[in-house]
Amino acid sequence: MPDRVALVTGGTKGIGKAIARSLVSKGIRVFMNYASDDKSAEEALNELNTGGNYARTIKADVSDQQQVNEMIDGIVRETGRIDILVNNAGIIKDGLLMLMPDSNWHRVIEVNLNGVYYTSRAVLRTMIGSRWGRIINIISPSALLGRAGQTNYSAAKGGVLSFTKSLARESARFGITVNAVSPGVIATGLTRYMDERVKTEFLSMIPAGRFGTPEEVAHAVLFLASDEAAYITGEYISVDGGLT
């Protein structure tokens, strides 16, 4: 997939970085978006922007429409296009609904759901113009099964899944596919700090008997981003060891 340009939101750490790495390895020019952690961004840039590879970092809060528009205009000015959008940026603010601070509800919706709206809307003009595009939204088993303590997160991710299906129908005519990938429990920086009891509880629910790797998620994203996946749209792929 040479000459193609990808934007991965939340692309400098964890699953996002693994996705960026796999796209870069196919010769795709990759912009890794991040919201605030300059140190991780610099590390990701040093790691990926090597040899003949093209990787850039770009700072923007996906929940801020103006920042999103400026980010996407900037990429289009520099490269003339965006072919692949991976909506990976996300936050959690878990808590039981009855006692949830309002701000935790709104913030999770703003980043995980509104963010997908802002980025997707902003890339469609360039994708329709080139009659080729891939939008891949990272969702969650919470969207599919629900999870106590995640009403906000599951509402946002469930919203993203339904958004995926509707936008797929709007954009299929233009050679644009819109799909989702649902990673189960993936070993990243976050799971490293999980306490043993929670780890054991999760493992007991996963038929594969282990956590997944960011690379296993990235493979599914790379497949959906490829020309070979042109006839798959409005779908989701779970990468969760059988969890759902």
Binding site: L124, R125, I128, G129, E170, R173, F174
Partner: protein, 86 residues
Amino acid sequence: MEKETLIEELKALIIKSLKLEDVLPSDIDPAAPLFGSGLGLDSIDALELVVALEKTYGIRIPDEDVGKEAFASLSALAGYVIKNKK
């Protein structure tokens, strides 16, 4: 640019960008609505036309409220392009 000339140019652009192989420029009535009736174009076709118009004339059709005004007819579209082009 003369509005009449622009209308002819827009007819060609619509036929080309929406691949209306069976439509002649003379088939498009400048006073008729562009979408929903007449040419049988739907709202998803409009997306393609928005992208083509923005690219060709440097105008911006930011949302459907503006789109409704611009696509009321070919004549209205020509007026919108003249008013907004760079």
